[in-house]
């Protein structure tokens, strides 16, 4: 009791909503999911504790393949988003000034005023066989006739990158804005060339922003459901789709919960690995976002 000074009490009260939020909306459901994932249906409405759901995952190559495929494509999407966002972030942070800068920032935000569904359907309209882009390609003679650009893995990547680019851009812009221009000039003055300055000065400085953006994009793509389902082709499997299917159309909550936990584990491990490899600290990266 003697430790509960008014100051401490205030602190607890201030933290209470955040803690409640965490507990009610994040921790409790996960505990529930975890418990469901470790059981098995043995009869109508009867369940017993079991590792069957996890065993199924490792024994069934289909699930395993989908898992790996989702991870690999998310990684590719993350790397491509980084490569595409970097020049844009550089332009906004360092080249553009005043109104132009505000305008460019607004332009990157603009697509997010529409819902993700609308944005994804937009791609559908652009890329479909009778859509704008295939027709245009045929018109200017790149292809003999309109080609179906939808339903390829590349289409999914385009959609994933498009819907997550902003989350790469913002931390990158933040990181690059804090880079003192004189550092670049100094390096140039000391004999550095563009590539070397990029490698030795700009990227190390932006590293926490790069890590933050990559973590966000990676998690977003890994957990994306809509884009792979709408833009994906006949063979496109996405792990979240598998989770949805297990929960909703197979009525197999146990399997779905196990999949959800595996996905959580995968994203945690990959983020941890990424930070480890690039020598970043999680706290630093998160401060950038």
């Amino acid at each position: 009791m003697n430790t509960l000074t008014p100051k401490r009490l205030t602190l607890y009260l201030l933290l209470a909503p955040a803690i409640l939020w965490l507990l009610l909306l994040i921790i409790l459901p996960h505990v529930g999911m975890g418990m469901i994932s470790f059981r098995e249906r043995i009869g109508p409405g009867e369940f017993a504790g079991s590792l069957k759901q996890y065993r199924t995952f490792f024994e069934e190559p289909l699930y395993w393949n989908t898992f790996v495929r989702t991870a690999v494509m998310s990684l590719i999407a993350t790397i491509m988003a980084l490569v595409m966002a970097f020049p844009v972030a550089w332009t906004i942070a360092k080249v553009a000034k005043g109104r132009l800068k505000a305008l460019m920032l607004a332009a990157t935000l603009l697509p997010f005023w529409a819902s993700e569904l609308v944005r994804t359907l937009g791609w559908l309209i652009l890329l479909r066989g009778s859509g704008v882009i295939p027709q245009f390609l045929a018109f200017i003679g790149v292809t003999d006739q309109p080609v179906e650009l939808l339903y390829h893995d590349a289409t999914i990547l385009v959609g994933l990158i498009y819907s997550s680019l902003l989350f790469m851009l913002v931390p990158l812009i933040n990181a690059l804005e804090t880079l003192d221009d004189s550092l670049i000039e100094a390096a140039y003055d000391l004999g550095g060339n563009r590539l070397n300055i990029l490698r030795k000065i700009i990227i190390p400085h932006a590293a926490p922003g790069i890590a933050a953006g990559s973590i966000m994009v990676f998690m977003l793509t890994l957990g994306n459901y809509l884009t792979p389902v709408v833009l994906g082709g006949k063979s496109s499997m996405w792990f979240t789709e598998q989770i949805y299917t297990q929960f909703i159309t197979r009525f197999n909550w146990e399997q779905g919960a196990a999949f959800a936990f595996l996905l959580l584990g995968l994203s945690s491990v990959l983020v941890w690995l990424g930070l480890k490899i690039t020598g970043q600290r999680f706290a630093d990266a998160m401060r950038r976002t």
């Binding site: 989908t66 559908l124 179906e148 063979s235 929960f247 159309t249 197979r250 009525f251």
Partner: protein
């Protein structure tokens, strides 16, 4: 313990909704398919009974999932297909028996009512009464395709211009077109699995022929309209809708038989407003109302005399799609025993993952 927790939280959510409902007025919470509760009919119901209808749109799987999550609470009335009632009722306890004394059974076509009572019967009780029936078959652009059965979708001349749904009706239909009878095998899981695996393999070999596995009805209809798809597995209402716009597009019953489904009224086990649910059932089963809903849904009803109010175009389309032999050849879905969906799921996953 977990179930208890889930129930508790569901109860809390419900309490909020219930309070909201009671504070205002009488409300019927209806979980149904798109077009099954057109606004005009909802308005008329409100005028006659003072009960407003809160409509939630859904499909067979989601209906079960939603009710399962709450243990059968949150809605007063549902419109699941008749084959999807007894399984979940037994497994998850999400439905309660229908009190046939409260239903004006005289409004229903007797043969259909009897058949549904049989299919949705469990432990001597009835869990569903029929509302609409319809079929799964083929939508064909007759100018560009001569497809007459599901297996024709795999013919090379239609490469890249056909589509099916990656759902169990597709497997069932494909099995029938291969000369098998999956419905007879419902009672024999081993045999059923063999049939479905064979149908799955056929679809895998057919996969490169398909433009896509369609997800949204509108997407498919659009692609048929603009000629990107010339033949597809689809239900009748969609085919007739296109037929009305363009006579060369037809809905046809496949040679091996169209698949027949019946959508029903079923009452969730924890429905709050039973009175309103029965009122809605009896309201909809009035022939002139049933005809209105049928027009909106593009389906045929199980209500006696509704055809007198039906659109002539629809009657003609039905006659064109279903000559007497084809009508007789419709394969009606029997109730699905629990556990079969897992077999279907694995086969469907395999199709999706194959290259």
């Amino acid at each position: 313990m977990l179930n208890h927790k889930l129930k508790l939280s569901a109860g809390a959510v419900l309490a909020v909704f219930a309070f909201h409902a009671q504070a205002d007025e009488q409300v019927l919470r209806l979980l149904t398919w798109a077009d099954y509760a057109p606004q005009a009919v909802v308005d008329q119901f409100k005028k006659e009974t003072g009960i407003s209808v809160e409509v939630t749109l859904s499909n067979n799987e989601e209906m079960i999932s939603k009710l399962r999550a709450t243990g059968g609470a949150g809605y007063d009335l549902v419109n699941p297909s008749q084959d999807r009632i007894t399984g979940p009722a037994k497994e998850f306890g999400i439905y309660q028996p229908i009190d046939l004394k409260k239903v004006k059974t005289a409004n229903f076509i007797p043969s259909m009512l009897e058949s549904t009572k049989k299919v949705t019967g469990l432990g001597g009780k009835v869990y569903g009464v029929p509302l609409f029936w319809g079929t799964d078959g083929l939508v064909v652009n007759s100018a560009k395709s001569k497809a007459a059965d599901y297996s024709d979708l795999c013919k090379p001349e239609y490469a890249g211009k056909t589509a099916v749904r990656l759902k169990r009706p597709t497997l069932i239909g494909m099995a029938f077109s291969m000369g098998k009878d999956p419905f007879k095998a419902y009672a024999n899981p081993k045999q059923y699995e063999a049939i479905m695996t064979a149908a799955g393999d056929k679809l895998i070999s057919c996969k490169k022929n398909l433009k896509y596995f369609w997800e949204s009805k509108d997407q498919l209809l659009n692609d048929i309209r603009n000629g990107e798809v010339v033949a597809a597995q689809m239900w009748d209402a969609g085919g007739w809708k296109l037929n009305t716009e363009n006579a060369t597009i037809k809905f046809i019953a496949p040679k091996s038989g169209a698949l027949g489904w019946v959508d029903t009224f079923a009452i969730p086990s924890k429905a709050k407003n039973l009175d309103a649910a029965y009122k809605w059932i009896n309201f909809i089963s009035r022939p002139e109302i049933a005809a209105k809903v049928a027009k909106s849904a593009g389906s045929f009803t199980a209500i006696k005399g509704a055809e007198n109010f039906m659109d002539e175009v629809m009657k003609k389309q039905l006659a064109e799609s279903f000559p007497p032999a084809a009508l007789k050849n419709i394969k009606w879905y029997p109730a699905i025993p629990a556990g079969l969906e897992e077999v279907d799921g694995k086969v469907l996953d395999k199709i999706k993952a194959s290259n």
